[in-house]
């Protein structure tokens, strides 16, 4: 008979090992899935995880894409992880990402075709503010009225999607676009374009921002009072209350920070890789970042690695679509499976698994 025994402290060893086990389990389950879809499982797994990095023909094209895709995922996931640690569930990062992109792009487009060097910094600021303001809606509602932030932040994703549809066909539409929806392309607007910092690496400002966010989050969580309060609230809410942690401040900080980072990610995406505001420029990074945050154990370094891995599945997925005709949705499901395996294996870090014979169990009960 298997019994679970709660550990007094989550095991550090298992917390580090379970993400790796989960990835392996997902590869096995994914292989079975691909086999059921009529593809060679080993070839599919290799195409997703190996070829984007090391294939002679595709590697040079795919490697830069790794950073392009990982940048927004890491940036958003770092913000989300702060809240998740403290039990504040912002799951509307997708909406904050969209609003950040809209606000930032609007500032840039307002100055078209100026070549002032301050345009891009102004856009970055506006992007962060846009995301921050959008996340403040659930934040303020939670603080003032106790409204559930999960549902409000999620509802606001759909509102943001409608705003995006509206501005890409109206307010921000390219006046020279011959009636096509979508804004001006930032590629034709050098002062506002988020280009590669080092040519051909995919290393744009968003990736730099993501790396800075990782470092800041690490320092915040390990060296700063606010970070300590975040951790305390997550691990022992009662103790946190007694020691005078202000829940209001924490909620506004966590939601605000995650919103601002998601907004930044949106701005960097729209002014760089995607290039323009269009109805479907958002690729669901806001939702995938939730998986990244958990896969990275809500730890900044872990998120960095998890973001790179998740970016790899995106690129590898595209490659597998191209090479093997694997449906794009299979990758989405693959990512969902990863989250499940991870949560399932979490039991190992919080509990000790004991095998007991019924007799021994009887003995224990006495």
């Amino acid at each position: 008979m298997i019994r679970l025994e709660k550990r007094p402290q989550p095991s550090k060893f298992w917390a580090a090992v379970t993400p790796i086990l989960a990835v392996i389990a997902t590869m096995i389950a994914g292989g079975i899935l691909f086999w059921m879809l009529g593809k060679a499982p080993l070839e599919a797994i290799r195409t997703i995880f190996w070829d984007p990095l090391f294939h002679e023909t595709f590697g040079p094209y795919s490697r830069p894409q790794l950073l392009v895709k990982a940048g927004p995922l890491i940036l958003i996931a770092i913000g989300l992880s702060l809240g998740f640690r403290a039990g504040i569930w912002n799951i509307g990062a997708e909406g904050q990402y969209i609003m950040g992109a809209i606000c930032g792009a609007a500032v840039g487009l307002a100055f078209y075709p100026s070549d002032n060097v301050l345009i891009f910094p102004a856009m970055v600021l506006a992007g962060a503010m846009g995301g921050w303001a959008w996340a403040m809606i659930p934040g303020v509602l939670k603080v003032k009225f106790g409204t559930n932030e999960i549902l409000v932040s999620l509802m606001l994703v759909y509102v943001a999607e409608n705003i995006l549809a509206s501005v890409s066909q109206g307010l921000l539409k390219n006046p020279d676009g011959m009636g096509f929806p979508g804004s001006r392309n930032f590629r034709d607007f050098p002062a506002a374009h988020n280009t590669d910092l080092i040519e051909g690496t995919g290393m744009h400002w968003g990736v730099a921002a993501a790396l800075i966010a990782v470092i800041f989050a690490y320092i915040l969580l390990t060296r700063h009072m606010l970070g300590f309060q975040v951790r305390l609230t997550g691990e022992a809410p009662r103790a946190a209350r007694f020691s005078g942690v202000s829940p209001t401040r924490l909620i506004l900080f966590c939601l605000g920070a995650s919103g601002a980072l998601a907004g930044l990610a949106g701005l960097f995406e729209v002014s760089g890789p995607s290039g323009q505001i269009s109805i479907d420029f958002n690729a669901g990074y806001g939702f995938t970042a939730i998986i990244v945050a958990f896969l990275g154990r809500l730890h900044p370094i872990g998120i960095l690695l998890a973001g790179l891995l998740m970016a790899l599945t995106y690129i590898g997925g595209e490659l597998a679509q191209l090479m093997l005709g694997l449906p794009g949705a299979a990758i989405q499901m693959f990512q969902g499976m990863l989250m499940f395996f991870l949560l399932a294996m979490d039991v190992l870090s919080h509990y000790r698994v004991r095998w007991k014979t019924p007799a021994a169990a009887q003995e224990g009960a006495k």
Partner: protein, 307 residues
């Protein structure tokens, strides 16, 4: 703009159709939450129900078989959640989110070959005599059978929860799982059954969207209906009849905004399209002003029996 072309009788009749998916999902989730478990995967189970119901409905030509299959698919998916949360003690919020992300991927994968196909039509059932009543007849008694099934499920849920021993045990488990466990009730088993019921209802609700309301398969077609169902459970203070009220109010809003769009009112389409979500937020705020009365005591808390 021509508001005159909005027919109030048709509007009210389509309200019931628009409300049914959310009603089904919300009544299921109400039972799950009554047992003390918060399943945020409603959206994922709904969309899986939508695609499975559609696929089976199209292949067999019988929507009713599609609905049965959708209920099983929703329940099967919810068992994944149940095992993770109840046996492996995973975080309920995170697992629910994972279920939604997984369901969205799974449904997109299954649904690819079914895009652009029309669903077999489900015959309307006209209640004898009653459907001939002027005004009331067309509004209430000329719907497809699933509308009535959803109402029966609500009534049964109310009856079981409020009037039977099984319902009492379920509520007890939800209010205080430690006390229920001490009394010898099987907390895990009760919750597992509640989760399965919730999954089946969400699956039915999803299938109603793809088989009756739209009726087509479109990727991501539930468009937040599962999340709105979660909001309605809060709005309803976890009471079955109020779930019915909430779902119909919400159905009314979404039908009204569609009618206003069709009538060409001078409000931008996007504003109308976002109105259901904004109103949901507004309702959540109003409800939280009143305080969350009626939330089950053990809602969302982890249960670990030491003996």
């Amino acid at each position: 703009m021509d508001l005159g072309q909005i027919n109030p009788i048709l509007l009210l009749a389509s309200l019931m159709v628009a409300a049914t998916p959310i009603l089904l999902a919300a009544i299921g989730e109400a039972v799950v939450e009554k047992s003390g478990v918060l399943n945020l995967g409603v959206e994922g189970m709904m969309i899986t129900g939508a695609v499975v119901g559609f696929a089976i409905g199209v292949n067999t030509g019988a929507p009713s078989i599609g609905f049965v299959a959708a209920a099983f698919a929703g329940a099967a998916l919810s068992m994944l959640f149940g095992v993770l949360v109840l046996y492996l003690k995973s975080n309920q919020v995170a697992t629910g989110l994972g279920l939604t992300l997984f369901g969205l991927g799974l449904s997109a994968l299954i649904g690819k070959p079914f895009e652009g196909i029309k669903a077999p039509t489900m015959a309307k059932y006209e209640v004898p005599l009653l459907s001939d009543i002027p005004a009331l007849g067309p509004i209430l008694f000329r719907h497809d059978p699933m509308v009535y099934v959803s109402l029966i499920i609500v009534a049964l849920t109310w009856y079981v929860l409020a009037r039977t021993r099984a319902g009492l045990i379920l509520r007890g488990v939800g209010e205080n799982h430690d006390a229920a466990h001490a009394l010898g009730y099987k907390v895990i088993r009760v919750r597992l059954m509640a989760i399965a019921f919730g999954g089946a209802c969400a699956g039915l609700g999803g299938a109603y969207i793809s088989l009756v309301r739209v009726p087509q398969w479109v990727e991501g077609m539930t468009a937040g209906a599962g999340w709105i169902a979660l909001a309605i459970v809060v709005f309803a203070s976890w009471r079955p009849w109020r779930v019915l009220l909430g779902a119909y109010l919400f159905g009314g809003i979404s039908v009204l905004q569609l009618n206003l769009q069709a009538a060409g009112v001078a409000i931008p389409v996007e504003v109308l399209a976002m109105s259901p979500y904004l109103i949901t937020i507004l309702v959540l705020v109003v409800i939280s002003l009143r305080g969350n009365h009626g939330a089950p005591g053990s809602l969302g808390r982890e249960f670990h029996a030491t003996h």
